[in-house]
């Protein structure tokens, strides 16, 4: 007994700094947000009171429509990043043999992160715009008569920008899972007469599940909370939950914004909870 006690104390001590950081900068602020979401506010001050009005105000047609629109983006982006991410990770893990080339290709995948978010998104305009490269190119080879308008400031451009940005978050965890797959299993599948697709579907996909789930959590949380990408690529004409919160904080309507944030947090947590039901991440890592 006496020998385990100091060990436990030192374990606590080791965990303390991180715990403190979390409590101070995550738990406390979140509790404050929760508290403020029940307060009232005027143009210039917060009034500590208890009211459910903020939550009642949040539930209206606009919010529901905004959530549906955000969920739609979430699904489309998730699907696209999953397919592309899986394909890229598969290629990197099973077709590229040399570690050097793997590293090089990985670095290539990070290219989208070499410039700032805003600059990256603004550079889509000369490509996708009415007088952009694609429209001018298509017009030059007489495929279209007038510019395609939906290339920019549309659902399409929002999804495109999201996929461009977030595929990396799928590639990395899926690649990581794939590298742990025992190559003997693939050989065994082939020896047993499985076709290439059957091997992928019945061996690789189930064994990459952890990576897929982790990647999905990354992508879903990023898309659900985003308002910059949707704003810029949607020409500010597409609503997002994050944008509503931002507008409300700009106008000092903190309780409303807090109520919205609490609901958003709850929705995202439920999605993550659902995903973690599918796989025990701690066990799999």
């Amino acid at each position: 007994m006496s020998s385990t006690k100091p060990l436990r104390a030192s374990a606590w001590l080791q965990a303390t700094p991180f715990t403190l950081v979390f409590v101070l900068f995550l738990v406390l602020p979140l509790l404050l947000v929760l508290a403020v979401s029940f307060w009232r506010a005027t143009d210039y001050e917060l009034i500590p009171a208890f009211t459910l009005q903020n939550y009642l105000d949040v539930f209206n047609e606009t919010t529901v429509r905004t959530y549906l629109s955000t969920l739609k983006f979430c699904f489309l982006v998730w699907l696209a990043t999953l397919l592309i991410g899986f394909a890229v990770a598969y290629f990197l893990a099973f077709h590229v043999r040399s570690v050097g080339v793997q590293t090089l290709l990985f670095v290539l995948c990070t290219v989208p992160f070499w410039t700032s978010n805003v600059i990256r998104m603004i550079s889509w305009i000369p490509l996708l715009g009415r007088n952009g490269l694609i429209n001018q190119g298509l017009q030059a080879i007489n495929v279209i008569d007038s510019p395609i308008e939906w290339l920019l400031f549309s659902d399409f451009s929002v999804v495109l920008a999201f996929v461009h940005l977030n595929t990396m978050f799928m590639i990395v965890p899926i690649f990581n899972s794939m590298m742990r797959i025992d190559r003997a299993l693939i050989e065994a599948a082939r020896d047993s007469g499985a076709s290439g697709w059957q091997t992928v579907w019945n061996v690789v996909v189930p064994l990459s599940r952890t990576g897929i789930i982790i990647g999905s959590i990354f992508v879903i949380t990023i898309v659900m909370g985003d308002f910059v990408t949707i704003g810029v690529m949607g020409g500010q004409q597409i609503a997002s939950v994050g944008k509503i919160i931002q507008v409300q904080t700009s106008y000092l309507q903190f309780p409303m914004a807090a109520a919205n944030a609490v609901i958003l947090l709850a929705v995202v947590l439920m999605m993550i909870w659902g995903l973690t039901r599918l796989v025990d991440i701690r066990k799999q890592l």
């Binding site: 900068f25 995550l26 406390l28 602020p29 979140l30 509790l31 404050l32 947000v33 403020v36 143009d43 210039y44 001050e45 917060l46 105000d57 047609e61 606009t62 429509r65 905004t66 629109s69 978010n117 805003v118 603004i122 305009i125 000369p126 715009g129 009415r130 007088n131 308008e149 400031f153 949380t221 990023i222 659900m224 909370g225 985003d226 308002f227 910059v228 704003g231 020409g235 500010q236 004409q237 597409i238 609503a239 939950v241 994050g242 944008k243 509503i244 919160i245 931002q246 507008v247 904080t249 700009s250 106008y251 000092l252 309507q253 903190f254 914004a257 807090a258 944030a261 958003l264 947090l265």
Partner: protein
Amino acid sequence: MTDHQDPNGTPRLGRRTLLKGAAAAGGALAFPFVHAQEKITLRYLGTAVNQDKAIADKFKADTGIEIQYIPVTTDDVTKRAVTAPNSFDLIDTEYFSLKKILPTGNLLGIDTKRIKNADKITTLFTKGEVGGKKVGDQGTAPKKVMYVASPTAKDFAKEPTQFMTLIPTVYNADTLGIRPDLIKRPIESWKELLNPEFKGKAAILNIPSIGIMDAAMVVEAAGLYKYPDKGNMTKKEIDLTIKTLIEAKKAGQFRALWKDFNESVNLMASGEVVIQSMWSPAVTAVRTKGIACTFQPLKEGYRAWAAGFGVPKTVSGKKADAVYEFINWFLDGWAGAYLNRQGYYSAVLETAKAKMEAYEWAYWMEGKAAAQDIKSPNGDLLAKAGSVRDGGSYETRMGGIACWNAIMDENAYMVQKWNEFVAA
């Protein structure tokens, strides 16, 4: 363009509230400034548009006092003034924000006896007049919020007093920007913004309190409704205005909405948009790219805005003296001339005139054809000899003000409806 996602955004609100709580409880952040006073640095909170390095450099050369700019967005200036008054020594904010800031008691009335040129500040601010004629005062016209009865008063005085809330820095009148080369016909009215002719090629400002005013100008110009006060709509009037916007949006009128100066420049320069609500320096920015762009005067008039210096209650002693010194220096002409050359207007015209060349004054302020090439303070060519400024002279332009940027009594409702428009 601030943080990327909600997990960043949410705790920030909490953290600030927490800090504020800590400051109130322990007085940790509220200690008076008693440190060594040889070198004074003034923290200047405002929007980037007004924070020119040349102005800070010149002031330092003249007085030895350092200016440290804190550039944030218009909305964030207000937010910081309300929630973190210890974080700056001098605020440069829009007059319409005063309705939110003053009741907090975070600003001190400025003693005009300590401001040398106070009595020379243009009558637009003190009386709401330009050249002896009254201009439109719908919305938060500066004269309505210019004075307070005592330095610590939390409401506005109706009559001029010794104490001013803000000392004006820059002001201007906004209108629609157009691409004359792509529209190819004269534009004379605000209603053209929602003209189906420009379907998919129009844009409006996505800053609710300003965007709604532009929308109101359109509604009135189209003869749909006449507002008693565009700057203070009733719920019904807000509904009507937003309904008009939503119908236009659903019909595909807008190519985009913009929130940021650079966005508006990009939309216009790339030809995505040919008509949009716009700010004067943004039009200049499009032009310096060699693209035709007009800041189009319209028959219904302009939507005006004005910003000014305020003094937070937290500065005292030497630091307060330095703040007054800066304000006095600012009104003394050099800064005014600098701003006038950028297409803004300065508070004391007389002193600015003394620091400008006669041909510059004639072009910028009198609406006369440029006698020689007009250059920006950085030396970029803004207008060739012979050209005339859009909107003409100071008196024609500022005399044509129809309304002012404002905060409505129904602000919360308006913001909620604006979100509906964005989501529609």
